[in-house]
């Protein structure tokens, strides 16, 4: 006897397309929910972290600010200025003493080099732009030989450099008038305490 086609052959329901689609949708919804809540959790944790980190940093900044203000207060500007002045004084003083002029040494030198029969009537010492002392002068020597002796004396000593005697005029009394220009060895006019 044949089973009529209206009677099902099994109690197990046959899978249909509709039921498969429903299962997929359910799974997707679950995964999406988990993902969304996880993201929310992470972001919430981040927000809490940022909030507390911000508080900690604000506290640290306040304490550093106070520490810095205390350090700034400890700096005395007058003391700093005093140190700077002392440094400037020491360096400038040392430099200036190194180039300090002592023209009196030149006069001591001239006393030893100039014979008594030669008289200097005018003398001009100037410090030129190259920091060398130039000498311009005029005088009278008792004789030409006396003038020659001065010239030789300057040349032999070497500290009165480039000595040029000019305007040499023999006077009636056989004395000799002259003009002198020279430069001085810097060692001559260097100051030594």
């Amino acid at each position: 006897m044949d089973i009529p086609p209206t009677i099902p052959t099994s109690f197990v329901p046959r899978s249909t397309f509709a039921s498969t689609r429903r299962t997929f949708t359910t799974n997707f919804t679950d995964v999406f929910s988990i993902f969304a809540y996880a993201v929310l959790g992470v972001v919430f944790a981040l927000a809490l972290g940022v909030f507390f980190y911000g508080r900690i940093l604000a506290g640290a900044q306040a304490s550093k600010d106070a520490e810095l203000a205390k350090a700034e207060k400890a700096i005395d500007l007058a003391t700093v200025q005093g140190f700077m002045q002392l440094r400037d004084r020491l360096t400038a003083g040392q430099k200036m003493l190194g180039s300090h002029l002592a023209l009196s040494n030149f006069f001591k030198l001239v006393e030893t080099l100039l014979p008594t029969n030669v008289r200097v009537s005018n003398l001009h010492l100037t410090l030129d732009t190259t920091k060398r002392v130039r000498l311009e002068g005029a005088g009278v020597a008792k004789s030409f030989n006396a003038l020659a002796a001065v010239s030789n004396s300057f040349a032999a000593d070497g500290r009165i450099k480039e000595a040029i005697f000019s305007n040499i005029v023999v006077n009636r009394d056989s004395s000799v008038s002259f003009a002198l220009s020279a430069t001085l060895d810097p060692k001559v006019v260097a100051f030594s305490p």
Binding site: F32, F35, L40, A74, L101, S104
Partner: protein, 186 residues
């Protein structure tokens, strides 16, 4: 349908919290606070170095004899004080036997305000020191000039004779003109 609304809202809230609070706070106030703390740390390190150096310098300064420091201050004073200098030179000339006929500060350039209203010939206004020139005329013997020159050279205040003119005479008394440079600490 309802089961998707809450997760979607959660996602939207997450995005909102992130972009409205987390990200701006991180790149705004937290970044600024971190930068400020780093800057404070550098300043504190500098302050510590300064304190150390200050102590070292104070020790070095205390090691210098106070009389030497006073002498150094007189060598290069903090003010021009050309009037005091003129008085000192007058006294020196009197001690040396030289008669001063004229003494003045050269006024061919305008001095800045620091000169205290007295026109002086100033060197270039750079560097820690200032300088000016003083001209003087005097009459006296050769020995008096030598004594005066030695006094000027060994003066407590640094003085350089930059120009000296000697005019002789048969009497043994000479005319002198000189220009002296004097200095001060700006």
């Amino acid at each position: 349908m309802n089961s998707r609304i809450l997760p979607t809202l959660a996602l939207i809230v997450s995005v909102g919290i992130f972009f409205a609070y987390v990200q701006p706070t991180w790149s705004g106030s937290i970044y600024a606070a971190k930068a400020s703390i780093a800057s404070n740390d550098r300043a504190l390190a500098a302050a510590k170095t300064y304190t150390l150096q200050q102590n070292q310098l104070a020790a070095a300064r205390n090691a210098i004899d106070p009389t030497d420091l006073a002498q150094l201050a007189r060598l290069l004073p903090s003010s021009v004080d050309n009037v005091g200098l003129i008085l000192d030179l007058n006294a020196l000339a009197a001690r040396s036997g030289l008669t001063l006929s004229n003494i003045d500060v050269i006024t061919n350039t305008i001095a800045p305000a620091k000169s205290g209203g007295v026109g002086v010939t100033l060197s270039a206004a750079t560097g820690p020191t200032g300088s000016a020139e003083l001209s003087l005329s005097a009459v006296g013997t050769y020995a008096a000039l030598q004594s005066f020159l030695v006094g000027v050279e060994k003066s407590e205040r640094l003085l350089d004779v930059k120009d000296l003119l000697v005019r002789g005479s048969d009497t043994g008394v000479y005319d002198y003109r000189m220009k002296l440079s004097f200095y001060w600490l700006r």
